[in-house]
Amino acid sequence: MFDIYLLEAAINGILLGGVLALLALGLNLIFGVIDVVWICYAELIMMGMYGMFYMVSVFHVPFLIAALLTIVLVAAMGVVLHLLVIAPLLNAAPINQLLATGGVLAFLQALATVMFGIDFRNLGIRLPVIEVSDMYISYARLLAFGTALAAMVAVYLFLSRTYTGTAIRAIAQDRQIMPLMGVDTRRIYLVTSAIGGGLAGLAACLLVLQYDVHPFIGLTFGPITFMICVLGGLGNMIGGFVAAFVFAEIISVAGLYMDLEWGYVFAFVFFIVMMFIRPRGLLARRQ
């Protein structure tokens, strides 16, 4: 028997997957190329959301211009993060790199608390809802889903069709040998950090339409984004994209038939099992 609520839950899962895929995209790109996990990635998104809030709600900048400025702003933050924190630690032990970006996470949370206060803020923009039969589809989530797809394609085309993209992929394969081939690794890292930051900025523009921003919003997304990246294979952008949708569907559909938290339990169990079966990620080739 046809269950319209199951269909709605499945669609909600796809839309949530779009949000999560967008979050995982930039993080995966950075890890794939620079080999450093930005634990503070969700906090960069939080700063971007604040940027959007102030530009749109306080300074009345048109949404699209504010979005462009936010993407540029967070991209610049990505570059600064690389120059100040990552670059000096490029050859350090991974645990030191993790601790350093973890420190940036705490710093950004504290900075946001001091600068913006503890209040929850939102744009107050209400996008229309698409109504089909008894199903309602959030336009804001549909927008995030479409943007995630478009961003994925754009990043893929950039990496495969441009000289810089080719250099990025080459560095991702072998960090040591590429400088010997004449590639300016420093510049490539900066470009990658800017793109990663820009993708965080893009995510911020879309998330601010769906969530209140507060200094600790990163706690909502950070852990789940890392799990998705690991599930898809750290550094594997397509793997991360697929993992986001698998994860979101499990959460959404299981949450319909059982208590909501069971959806997360199943998703985490799936994650653990996959770590045993495919430790290098969902789409990794077996060795």
Binding site: Y5, F120, Y136, S138, Q210, I217, I251, L260
Partner: protein, 439 residues
């Protein structure tokens, strides 16, 4: 000879001068007596914006006022403010730090029940006095027989019972249904607070014969509640009973609106629903006609329902609140709750501990709190105070406290339950103008 006499005179004058200084200094030394109080609230993290900062403000207003008026029985209040950061482990660590390093005489405050439950037990181990102004979950006290922990607030189960009692009463009259046909859905954050209020909801629904079509918890930090919305659509409740903090409430309301969820009434239970200003900032006029269960706001208590000496204090707290937060749309009950409960301690417990039991140690404070017998009208919140004795299941709980149901209508709030305190009858069916109204 003259020189010797002069020397004697100078020595005598010096002696008099020293004696005068000592005599003058004596009251000053007496004035130096102080009680050091660790004041713990969440000043950062999600609970801070969810209401804890307003409780901090309420407590601080009273402490500042008391100090500005000479303290209590010769004791000045020396507050040491600490931030629990919305994390139970930090709350425990801060309490221990305040006791061991800051050497506080007692602790006051605590917003989140998830922090209160473990912290109360830890403070009891130290045999320190704990005065809870806020957190309401029953498990903080239930079956623990704590000697030094006292809570003047009503407790969570009472919250859940208040809303269901009201629904049972109005089921036939407003909804035209027998209680058994009135469908209610209970949704709550899955911490100690939400679980306890939901327990009251279930108990109250069973007592009144209401039909519970869904009872579900969720994590406050959940990034998505759309499955919950879909489930609610499938269950088709007439009334939603919701208990949550702030970010989860606004996420739920947003996703409920986008998901086409319809219902006749929504009753919140404190925390995120208490602060109308923030609720409105997050959800706009969508929250018009929503209801909330809480102790009555001190600014809504009828002036003749409280003792006359409390009226200027209510006014003072309101003035200080508006000065601190000038953009407030509607004064939140949060501030009044902490202010009233802190005032109660400063004016009824502390003076008795000093005068009758000779000091501010935990034993003296415990005895003074146990003696307390305040009739209705003796607190700014309108209710009286009598703590359950140590052998009781709810030892340390004020058994005269009760919450009320209020309704937000056009930026004003009205007490709609219980009948005895009603300022107007509840509007239990959302008007067509509401995006959530069941058509």
């Amino acid at each position: 000879m003259v020189r010797r006499r002069l020397a004697r005179m100078v020595a005598a004058m010096a002696l008099i001068a020293v004696a005068s200084v000592v005599a003058l200094a004596a009251p000053a030394i007496a004035q130096e007596k102080k009680i050091k109080i660790g004041v713990v609230y969440d000043l950062t993290g999600p609970f801070a914006g969810g209401g804890s900062d307003l409780h901090y403000l309420g407590a601080k207003i009273i402490i500042d006022y008391i100090n500005a008026h000479g303290g209590v029985e010769g004791y000045m209040i020396d507050p040491v403010y600490a931030d629990a950061q919305s994390k139970p482990d930090v709350a425990i660590n801060e309490a221990v730090r305040l006791i061991e390093q800051e050497k506080v005489d007692m602790l006051l405050g605590f917003y989140a029940s998830a922090e209160c439950v473990p912290t109360a037990a830890r403070i009891e181990q130290f045999k320190k006095f704990m005065w809870i102004t806020t957190c309401i979950a029953a498990p903080v006290l239930e079956n623990r027989h704590l000697k030094y922990v006292f809570r003047p607030q009503p407790y969570g189960t009472q919250w859940g019972l208040a809303s269901t009692e009201m629904l049972t009463y109005y089921s036939k009259e407003v909804f035209g249904k027998d209680p058994k046909d009135l469908k209610v859905a209970i949704i709550h954050e899955d911490g100690a607070y939400g679980t306890d209020v939901a327990r009251g909801n279930v108990e109250g629904a069973a007592k009144g014969g209401l039909q519970v079509v869904l009872n579900e918890g969720y994590s406050v930090t959940s990034p998505d509640l759309s499955s919950l919305v879909t489930k609610l659509k499938r269950a088709r409740p007439d009334v939603i009973l919701h208990t949550g903090y702030n970010p989860d409430i606004s996420l739920f309301l947003r996703q409920a609106r986008e998901g086409g969820l319809r219902f006749q009434a929504l009753i919140g239970h404190g925390a995120g629903y208490t602060d109308y200003t923030k609720l409105k900032a997050a959800s706009g006029t969508d929250v018009n006609y929503f209801m909330d269960v809480d102790p009555i706001s001190i600014w809504e208590v009828k002036p003749d329902a409280i003792q006359p000496e409390l009226r200027p204090i209510v006014q003072m707290v309101g003035d200080a609140y508006m000065k601190a937060r000038p953009d407030t749309v509607l004064k939140s009950a949060h501030v009044g709750m902490a202010a009233s409960n802190t005032w109660l301690f400063m004016t009824k417990v502390l003076p008795r501990a000093i005068k009758v039991y000779g000091g501010v140690d935990a034993e003296a404070l415990r005895k003074a709190a146990t003696d307390l017998d305040v009739p209705d009208g003796g607190t700014m919140l309108g209710f009286g105070v009598k703590f359950e004795p140590e052998e009781s299941v709810m030892s340390g709980q004020n058994n005269r406290a009760y919450p009320v149901v209020i309704q937000y209508i056009d930026d004003k709030s009205y007490v709609v339950w219980p009948k005895a305190l009603q300022q107007r009858p509840p509007l239990l069916k959302l008007p067509d103008s509401s995006p959530y109204a069941a058509k």
